[in-house]
Structure formats: C-alpha cells, structure tokens
C-alpha cells in the first residue's frame, strides 16, 4: 500500500523481527520476567523510535500477540525491553522461550505520558505491582543527564505485595542512593527483619510521603484497586484531575484503533490511550 505521495508504507500489522537477547527473572515467584530484544535489522530500531508510556505488541509465530508496556527507555540504545507477567497462552509460551530465539515486536503503539506538560514541574510517580514497567522507562528517561534538568523534584511511590515481588531490585537500590530522586518503596507486608523501607499500601504511603501538589503532576499506574484508592488521596493533596495521569490496560488485538474491542466510549485505549488524564476519564463511561 502507498501513501498519497506514492511512498510505500509498512503494513501496520507486520511485526519487526527480533532476537531475545537477555531474559531476567524479576520476582521470587518467577511469574515476571524481563525480556530484552535486539532487532534483526538494525534499521528497525530507528523505525521503532518510542516515548515512555507507549506499548508494543509482542508477536510469537504460532501463538499470537500480546500488548505490553515498553519497560526500556529511549535513552537506552541497542535493545528494547518488556517485563511480562505469565498469564495466558502467549505469555506462558514466552516464559518458556530462551535467549537467541526469534520472535517479533510491533509498534510503538499508543500515546505516552505528557512529557511537554511535565517540563518544569515536580513529578510524582505512583506505581504498584507489575504495572511499574512504563514507570521504569519514565524514571530512566528522566534521570538521563540530558533530561534531568527539565524536571523539578522527582518522587516515586512504588509498592508490591512483598519484597520478593518488587521489579528491578538493583535499580531501585541504585535510585535510593541518588539525591536527585526521592524513592518511597513499600510492601504490603513482610516478615523480613532486615527490610529497611516502608510497609503499607501504596495509597497510605502516598498520603504520608507526598506533601504537596504545588506545581506537580502525578503519573499513576497500577492495578485497578490501587488506582481506586490512590485517586482520592491525590485529589485531597490538591492534584486537579488534569494533573493526575493514568495508564490503562485493556484486551487488545490490532493495537491501532481498528479491531474495535478496547474502546471506552469513543476512545480506543490502544490508539487514543493508554495514557489518559483523570479529567478526561471522568467524561468517559466507566467501562474499564
């Protein structure tokens, strides 16, 4: 197919071939693994230029595709990474694949966190469970020496069920040591006497640690229950609904707003989202 100038366009359903370069098991229950992919054709990496907050369809010939948030940052070169929870047919197969195997990725898809709007502001990141992936992308992106001056204070509240269920443990420890990011790691509960961070649910820790909404924007990504209880906390702190940014999940197939299943009202989560300001979500049916 061609565009109006007669230039050949890529088929938007065709994945770029990639090789699994590295697999890291993230959590103690082994349900989450991070996969690093390298493009078979180096030119494809340029075509896959992405922005933190976007996602891609991971494609396995013979099994199908799954939409997964991009966990790597565009400031990291030479690979793209995704953290995948083992849930269904495709993810279970992927968990059994090994380094060197060939598969595909299709994207980048969807919109991204409002980086232009966030410039000059304090950034509050609130994440829970395995939804921390595009937030990792965002943190790496903001901490990049070229980007860090663009943002004021960066605060992160990140929680998991238990210490063993936290993603990216090495990086979390590294960020804890830095003075240009305020980390508030928490777990729902733990019997580890050496646990030196917070214990409590994400909304509670957010209420304790985040003290002001002045000139701040909040990025929230997590399970529905966490979002439900974090939202009023942020609003009480003074965040207006257009300064609370949410990233949603939905069953998807095409990823380009055509196949019809991931709509909320007239918005497709795959194309018009997955990132929506709370102010916009309040005008949409609560069907997510």
């Amino acid at each position: 197919m061609r565009n109006k100038e007669g230039v050949q366009l890529k088929n938007p359903y065709l994945p770029y071939p990639v090789r699994i370069d590295r697999i890291v098991t993230e959590t103690e229950d082994k349900s989450l693994k991070t996969f690093r992919f390298v493009f078979l054709d180096p030119d494809d990496e340029e075509k896959f230029a992405y922005t933190p907050g976007q996602f891609a369809e991971l494609s396995i010939a013979g099994k199908g595709e799954i939409p997964i948030g991009i966990a790597s940052s565009p400031t990291e070169r030479g690979f793209v990474a995704f953290t995948v929870n083992k849930v269904g047919l495709v993810t279970s197969h992927l968990h059994n694949m090994k380094e060197g195997d060939i598969m595909g990725i299709r994207g980048p898809l969807g919109n991204w966190y409002p980086w232009d709007e966030m410039e000059g502001k304090h950034v509050v990141i609130v994440g829970g469970g395995f939804a921390f992936t595009t937030l990792r992308s965002s943190i790496i992106y903001m901490l990049d020496s070229e980007n860090r001056p663009k943002f004021a204070d960066i605060s992160v509240v990140y929680g998991a069920r238990s210490p063993g269920m936290l993603l990216y443990k090495d990086e979390l420890a590294e960020w804890e040591q830095r003075d240009d990011i305020n980390m508030h790691i928490t777990v729902d509960s733990t019997d580890d006497p050496d646990w030196k961070y917070n214990v409590g649910f994400v909304p509670t820790i957010t209420e304790q640690k985040i003290t002001s909404a002045e000139n701040a924007i909040a990025i929230v990504c997590g399970p529905p229950i966490m979002i439900k209880f974090t939202q009023p906390v942020l609003e009480k702190l003074g965040f207006s609904p257009n300064r609370i940014i949410l990233s949603l999940e939905m069953r998807m197939k095409c990823g380009i707003g055509i196949c019809g299943r991931c709509n909320i009202g007239d918005q497709y989560v795959c194309k018009d989202g997955p990132v929506f300001p709370l102010a916009q979500l309040k005008t949409m049916p609560g069907e997510y």
Partner: protein, 345 residues
C-alpha cells in the same frame, strides 16, 4: 455521465463477457435466501430479490482472512518471521448490490482507512472493486435507509446504479470506473421518457419506507448520561448474545486475530468478532469491563448511535438495511432503541 438502457437478456449476456475483465460477484439464490457469491462456473445471479441475508461486506472483508504466513521449521533461515499472505487484488465487480450496503462501505471506510492508519487488506480489496448497485423497487418492511442518510436509489459510493424497469435495466454511470464498466455493455441511450420512469420509480420507492427513526438529537446527548440511561437492562432483557446482529450487519467491523498452525507452517488470521461475546473484552487477569449482557448490548447500540456519531461527525454507524431487525431471534429493534436514545432527556 452515461445513461444506458438494455434488456434483461442483454444484461445476462453481458455478464458472461464481463467475467473476463472482472472477478464478478452477485446475489445468488441460496436455499431460502440470497448470498453474494463469485459468478463463476454456472452460478447465475438472481436480481429479483430483496436483499442478501449475509451482507456483501464479506467480499471486501472476509469472515476469515489470512494476514501473514510463516515457517516454524528451525532449519529454515526465515523460521518464525512473518510474511504477507498473497492476495488477489485484480479488478472485481459486485453487481446488484443494494445502495444501503454500498453506504455501509462508506461508513466502515472511516475505520479501516483513517488519517493515521490504513488497513492494507480492506483498503486494497475495496479499491479493486466496482460497485454496480441495483435500486430497490420494493424496500422491505424493516428497511429505514432514508432515515440514516441513504435511500433505495442512493447514489453515493456507487460506480453504476441500475433501475429495474420491468423488461429492461436503465444503467447510470456515476464514476469513471462505472463509465469503463458500462462501455463493455451494449445498449441504447436513454430517452426522456425512460429517465422520467426511473425518477418516478425512485420517488414511489422512497415513499414506501415509512419508518421514522430520528437521529438528530444523538450528537447533543452527554455520553455518560446516555450510558447511564435507565433503559439498557430492559433493552437487553431478551437478548441471547447470539451475535446474529453483528454477523449480518454490513457496518460491524470488529475482528479478532489468531494464529493457526498445521505441521511446521502457520498463518496469522483475522476473523470477524462480536461485541456480543464476553471473550471480546475479557482481560488476561480475569477482569472483564463488559462482563454483563446488558453492558454488551449497550456497547453495540452506543457504538453505532453515539460513539461513532461523536467520533466521525458523519451520522450514525448504520445504513438502515434492516437485517438485524429481520433476523434477531428475540425481535430487538434498533429503530426503537435509536428512538429511546434520541428522545432520552
């Protein structure tokens, strides 16, 4: 543009010769119903029909379509790498298609061929097709095309429009593609008396459509108010979630993508899907934003009569063909639901 008159015998003869330059599709008697089929071999079209049960969208957008193929044989250099499945995009002509079903192509084109993304298969199939429409002398009791921006002799989107004048067809070319098609058919130029007869036929047919389906207030409704309207449970009460409405609808476009493997060869295939089915929106976690039947029924009507209206500002996602009204096993009627929505205050 050319206007030509020819006898029905001449038309039948012409179709035989038109099989050479075109892949021909037309309405063929199929049990108690009519179905659009390739007019190859000895398949004869029957133009004395109301409309096909299954809409001709299937010619442009098949129920199941190969997207990609691949090898899973590890000894192949390109194992696991997807390649486009070959397609036949040679010129095709859909003859005898009703104007509502052509209008439906205009409606779904906004989805498949939008400024951001073009669906390559839908677009190529559509561009390869010549639409030779046949006006409706006797619309069905369930038809309401005139209420949703169309009509029994509506010309928009057609390349040729045929008027059934008894022993003869009057053919009107409406596009360059249509001119090229008509050039291949013998016939005489139409005189004023014939054109007058065609115009009278059109007017008398339009008068036969008596349904009143107001859509004028839909745009101004607040989406979440309509979404939370009290009538959805009642509208959905009898629904079986069978999916007949979405399967027969010429403007339903949703699809699923699945991989199928045979031995060491595989295909990625897309299949029509339906918002009537719980699996359509079921998350991997088990959460389902439309777990309840009424939510799925609401989705179908809200999509066609509100979300589409807001998104494209080009009317409703319905061409008034009446198939869902005729074939719903529990008599759910989109015309009544539309009225409920339009009148909702």
């Amino acid at each position: 543009m050319t206007e030509k008159i020819f006898t029905k015998e001449e038309w039948s003869g012409a179709l035989e010769t038109l099989k050479e330059p075109y892949r021909l599709f037309g309405p063929v008697k199929d049990g108690d119903f009519h179905t659009f089929m390739p007019l190859d071999g000895d398949k004869k079209p029957d133009f004395d029909y109301e409309n096909s049960r299954l809409s001709p969208k299937t010619i442009i957008y098949p129920e199941s379509e190969r997207m990609f193929e691949y090898s899973l044989d590890e000894t192949d250099d390109d194992a696991h790498i997807l390649k486009e499945s070959p397609k036949d995009y040679s010129p095709c002509a859909i003859v005898g298609i009703r104007p509502c079903d052509v209008h439906a192509f205009q409606i779904v084109k906004r989805n498949f061929d939008n400024p951001e993304y073009q669906d390559p298969w839908w677009t190529e199939h559509f561009e390869s097709a010549i639409l030779v429409g046949l006006g409706c002398n006797n619309p069905c009791a369930s038809c309401f095309c005139t209420q949703v921006g169309g009509g029994p002799f509506h010309e928009t989107g057609l390349d040729v429009l045929l008027f059934d004048l008894g022993d003869n067809f009057l053919a009107k070319a409406l596009t360059e593609k249509g001119e090229a098609f008509l050039e291949k058919i013998q016939g005489e130029s139409a005189d004023d008396a014939v054109l007058k007869a065609a115009e009278d036929l059109k007017q008398s047919s339009e008068k036969k459509i008596t349904a009143k389906v107001p859509t004028d207030q839909l745009k101004d409704k607040v989406t979440i108010e309509l979404f939370d309207a009290p009538f959805w449970e009642e509208v959905a009460f009898a629904c079986l979630n069978c999916g007949t409405c979405t399967y027969l609808c010429p403007t339903c476009w949703c699809f699923d993508i699945q991989d199928e493997v045979s031995g060491k060869q595989g295909d990625r295939i897309r299949n029509w899907d339906s918002c009537m089915f719980p699996l359509f929106s079921l998350h991997g976690s088990g959460h389902n934003p439309r777990a309840e039947k009424f939510q799925r029924v609401r989705q179908r009507f809200m999509h066609k009569l509100k979300y589409y209206v807001d998104k494209y500002e080009n009317g409703v996602q319905c061409s008034g063909c009446g198939r869902c009204v005729r074939y719903c096993p529990v008599n759910i009627d989109i015309r009544e639901v539309c009225k409920l929505m339009n009148d909702f205050a």
